[in-house]
Symmetry: D2
C-alpha cells in the first residue's frame, strides 16, 4: 500500500516526530510512504517523493516540518479537490495522513466525502483548539516557550517595578494565554472566550495588586482578546492612567523550536497509530488525546465547536497573583 503524508497550515513543533513515525511504522508493516511537500498546494502540483526511513534520521528533535507547509485556499473549491483526488489516484497514493489543524482536516473530510480518499488526521497546531482532543502537537512546546520568555521579562519587570503586557498567540482561542498565565504567575490574563475580563476588571485588579504592594506585574493577553490586543490595551492604560508600561508581542518565536518531550511522544504515537489504522482499512478519522489516552474521532467531528479554556484556570490566575 502506498500512503501519502503532508503537513498543512501553520507549522508546529512535533510535526517531524509524526512524519518520522508515519514513515517508520509503514516500513515496519511493509508499506511505502510518499512525502507531499508544501501541504495541499504541493499535492495540486504533484510535488512529492518517496520518503525512506533513513531520511527521517535526526528529525525528531527539529522544529518546523521537513515537508514544508503552506496554506492552500484553492482547496476550498470542489473542482480543485477533484483534481487533487485524481492526482493521488494516478500516482497510486491510496491513503493520506494529514498533519495540521482545523482547516486542513476540513479539506481532508471533503476529500474523503466527495472522492473516497482515505484520510487520517493528526492534530498539529500550537493553538490546541480542535474539538475531540485535549492536546494538539506544538501546544506544549509553545506553552513552554512563552513561559520561558516571560520568565526573562519578569527579571526586568521586577528590577524596574514595571508593568508588562505580553501578547501570546491565539487569534480565536485563549488556551495558550490562560495556561501561560498560570505557569508564569501572571497577575492577570485577557482572552477571547472570557467576556468578564474587561478592561475595567483588569484595571481594578492591577489597582488591588498595587495597594497590596506589588510593584511589578505581568499581564498575558491573547492575540485576539475582546478588549483589544496588547498594543491596544497598553495604549489605553497609558492614556487613562499614565502608567509606565511596556508591551511585548512574542509572535513567531512561539511557533518554532525543538519540540518538548510530550509533543515528541504524541507525534510519535499518533504517526504510528494513523498508519496502523489506515492499513487496517479505516477511512476518515483523526487522532487525539482524551483523558490521557489515545482517542479516535470520525473526521466529520472537526465541524464541532471549538473547545474553550477551563473556567477555573482563569479564576485561579487572580487567586495566585496575591
Amino acid at each position: 500500500m502506498r500512503l501519502g503524508v503532508l503537513t498543512s497550515g501553520g507549522d508546529a513543533p512535533g510535526m517531524n516526530a509524526a512524519i518520522r513515525a508515519v514513515v517508520r511504522q509503514a516500513d515496519a508493516l511493509g508499506h511505502e510512504v510518499y512525502g507531499i511537500y508544501r501541504g495541499y498546494q504541493g499535492l495540486l502540483e504533484s510535488d512529492w517523493a518517496p520518503l525512506a526511513t533513513r531520511s527521517c534520521a535526526n528529525i525528531l528533535q527539529r522544529g518546523g516540518t521537513i515537508l514544508r507547509t503552506a496554506r492552500c485556499p484553492e482547496l476550498h473549491h470542489p473542482e480543485r479537490r477533484a483534481e487533487a483526488a485524481a492526482k493521488l489516484r494516478k500516482v497510486g497514493i491510496e491513503a493520506l495522513v494529514v498533519i495540521g489543524g482545523d482547516g486542513s482536516f476540513r479539506a481532508a473530510e471533503a476529500l474523503h466525502r466527495e472522492h473516497g480518499i482515505a484520510c487520517a488526521g493528526i492534530p498539529g497546531t500550537i493553538d490546541n483548539d480542535l474539538p475531540g482532543t485535549d492536546r494538539t502537537l506544538g501546544f506544549d512546546t509553545a506553552l513552554n516557550t512563552a513561559v520561558e520568555a516571560i520568565d526573562r521579562i519578569r527579571d526586568t519587570a521586577s528590577s524596574h517595578g514595571r508593568l508588562f503586557l505580553v501578547e501570546v498567540m491565539g487569534r480565536s482561542s485563549g488556551m495558550l494565554a490562560v495556561h501561560t498565565a498560570i505557569a508564569c504567575g501572571a497577575e492577570a490574563v485577557l482572552y477571547p472566550e472570557s467576556p468578564n475580563d474587561t478592561y475595567e476588571s483588569l484595571v481594578s485588579q492591577l489597582h488591588a495588586n498595587w495597594i497590596r504592594g506589588k510593584r511589578s506585574s505581568i499581564v498575558v493577553v491573547a492575540e485576539g482578546d475582546g478588549v483589544g490586543n496588547a498594543v491596544g490595551v497598553g495604549e489605553r492604560l497609558k492614556r487613562d492612567y499614565g502608567l509606565d508600561l511596556r508591551v511585548v508581542v512574542l509572535g513567531h518565536v512561539q511557533r518554532g523550536g525543538s519540540p518538548s518531550a510530550l509533543d515528541r511522544i504524541w507525534g510519535s504515537r499518533w504517526g504510528s497509530e494513523a498508519v496502523r489504522r489506515l492499513v487496517a482499512g479505516e477511512r476518515a478519522f483523526y487522532l487525539g488525546e482524551v483523558g490521557g489516552v489515545l482517542a479516535v474521532q470520525p473526521m466529520a467531528r472537526i465541524l464541532d465547536p471549538h473547545p474553550v479554556p477551563p473556567k477555573d484556570l482563569g479564576a485561579l490566575v487572580s487567586v495566585l497573583a496575591r
Copy 2:
C-alpha cells in the same frame, strides 16, 4: 484555620509552585499557613514559621523547594508520630499539606489514622510512580531534562558512529526511561517492569540496526533495570562484543531545574485545591490527574500497587528506531 505545609523525600521541580498556591489560596480564603522546614524531620524539631504571601514571590519558576526537604525514617516509629501530632496540636496546626511521594504519603496516612491529623497529599516526585494519578510534580521537567541531555549526546554519537548507554532515574519504575526513550528516539530501552527486554534481546536489536546501516545508537537504561544498570550492561557488551561504547549516568542533573509549564500548572492547581478541600473539612486525601482532569483519592489508596509504563510505548521504541 492554621495549615501546615511541608515537602518531603526527594525534591522535585514544581514543589515551589505548589507551596505558593497553598499559601496564596489560604490567604484568599482568610486562613494562615505555616511552612515546615526539612519535611517530617523539621516537624519533629518544630522547625517552622508563618509563610506570608509575599514570601512566595518569584518562587514559581525555581527548582527545588524553599522549605527544603529531608528523608525521615524516624517517622516509621509510632511513638515519633505521636510526638509529631502533639507538636502540631500545640502550635495549632489543624491540617497538613504534604508534598512528596510514596513514603511521605504513607506517613501522612498514619498520622491521620492514628492521630486524626487532617492531611492532604500533593504528588511530588520525578518518578511518576504513584497509584491513582497519571502525573506527579517533576516528572515532565525531568523528562524534558533527560531528553535535552540525550539530544546533546546524540550529536556526539552521530559524529563518531558510536553506541551510548544512558542511565536515567527510576530505581523501581520505568516510567521516566520509556517516555525518555520515545522522546529522544532511542534505539532501545531497558527498564525494570519489562521482563522481555533482556540483554539478549538488546544485543539482537543492536545487531539488526547495524545491519540496517545505523552506525550510532542510544540505549536508555533505567537505574534499576533487571539486566544491570548502564555501567553493568556496558561492561558486558564490551566484554562480549568488544564494542566501542560510552556510558553516561545522568544522575542528579535530572532532579533540578526550573519546572516545565505543566509542572507549574499542576503544582498551582493542586496547591489551591488541597487548601479548598481541607478548609471545607476533608480529612485524608491526595490529589492527582486522571484522564486529564483533577482527581481526588483517599489517602489510603497510596498503599495500592504502583502503576507500570504502558506496554505499547515500549514496543513503539523499536518500531521507530528503524
Copy 3:
C-alpha cells in the same frame, strides 16, 4: 571601610554576579557593603541597607538585579549631585561601586569630580557600547537569547519559505545586531553604524538569494537602524514588492534570563577587582576587558566616542548567506 553598591539604567544579566562579588570580596577584606536600591534614585532617597554575604546566596544565576534599578534624570542637576554626596557622607559610605552603562558612569564621574566621592564603574548594559572595554555585562546573554529566538523563527521561515525581519535591541549601536546576524546565519543585517546597508542594498541582496534558490530569509534589524526599524522596513518591502513577510520585534525578552557563563565570570571578576582597587585607595575608574584581560580605565574615559562593530563582521554576513 564602608562601600556602597548600586545598579543603574537598564537591568542586565550578570549584575547580580557583580553585586555578589562586591559583597563577598569586601567581606573577605574586612569591609562592609551597603546595597543602594533603585540606582541613583534610591541614593537620593537614602533607600539603602547593609548587604550580608548570606544575602547574596543563590543570586549568581538570576537575571535582573536584586538591588532593583531605575533611570534618574534628576542627577543631571548639579544640586542633586551635591545632595547625593552629602547623603553618602552622612551615612559613612566612602566609596561607590556603580554597575550600569554610559549615563550611570557619567553621573559617577561628576560625583567624583565635583564632590570627591570615590567611584568604581562596572560595565553593565546589554548594548556593549562603552568605550574602553570589549565587553559589558549582559551582552553575551542577550546575544545568546536573540540567537535562540531566531533559531526558532528559522524553523518557521524554512517550513513556509518565508522572509522574516527580526528586530534586536540597540538604539544607537549595531553591536548586538551584527553579532546576532553572524551567529544565527542571517541573510542580511541592518544597523545604525553601517551607512552602506541601505534599503536598496538589502533588496538586491534578497533578490540575489532568491535567484540562488533560497526561499526563506532572516534579516536582522537593529532597533535604531538608519533605514527605519523592522516594522518600517517590512511595510516598505510589502508595499514595493508585495512580499509575504513577517516582522518579529524581540523586545524585552532579550534583557532578562539567567546570565551566560561569560557574564557570570566577568561580573564576578569585576566585582572583586572593583573592591580591591577602592580599598587600595583608587578613586575614579571603571573596569573592562581589553584583549581578553581585565582592564582599568579612568572614569573620564567614558566621555570618549562609542565603539562601532567591526566592519569585517558585517561583510561576513553576506558571504556566509550564500
Copy 4:
C-alpha cells in the same frame, strides 16, 4: 583551487559553523571544497565528496559535525602520512582545512613538513588547551552546558543541604573546571594544574564553609585532577568524614548541543579566514583568538606547551564562596 576540509578528534560544537564558512567563503572566491568524512581515517580511505553551499544550509546551529569524526592513530606512522598525501594529490586537493585539537594539528604539521601539503588549522576542542589561542571551538558551549547542569544540581543541593562533587571534562586541563567553578558559584574546585588544591585544603575549605553556616556545597572536579577524580574524592570524603555527599559525572552531555553564539561566530570567522589565507598562498598555519582579535600562528607552534588556567581565577573561587 580544490580544498579539502575535515574534522578530527573529539567533536565540538561550532565545527559545523566552521565547515559552513569554509564552503561558502570558497564558493564566494570561486573555489571548490571537498568534504572528507571521519577525519584522517576517511582521508586514508578516500571517503570524500564535493560539498555544495546548499549542503551547508541549517547546520550552523547543530552540534557535532556533519563530516563525522574519528581518532586516527595510524597517521602517527610516516608511511601512512605519505599515503595520505598521495591520495590528496591524486584527487587534486591542494590544501587542507583541519578542524580539531592538538593531535589533529600535529598530524597536519607533519603532512606539511614532510609532503608540502598546505594546511590550515581551526581550533576545535572543548578543552581550550591549545597554545597560541585564548579560545577553541566548543569551549564556550561546553562551559555553559556544565554551568546549566550545575544550576540544576544546586536546586537539589540547597533543598537537601547536601555536598555534591561534580566532575567536568578536562583530562589534562583545568580550563573548563575553573571557569565552570566561577560561573556556577562553586564552593571549591580541583584541577590538574593546581598543586595546592589538595585533598587536605578541600577538607579545610568545606569545614570553614560549614562553620560559616553553609549547609550545601558544590565542588567542581576536573576529570584528571591530581587528588583523584570525583568518584575517588567522594569515596575518600565518605570514608574519612562520613559525609552524605553525591557524585555526578557530567560526561558526554558537555560535548554536544547547539553551539553558543560565540562558538558560532568564531567558527564562522575562522572558517572564512582559513580559506582566504590558503587561497592567498599561505601554507602551514592555524587560527586563534588572542586578545580578542583573530590571530594566526605557524602550525609548528602547536608543539609549544599547553596554556594553564589563570591563577587568580582559582583563588577567586574561595573568595566568592563565602
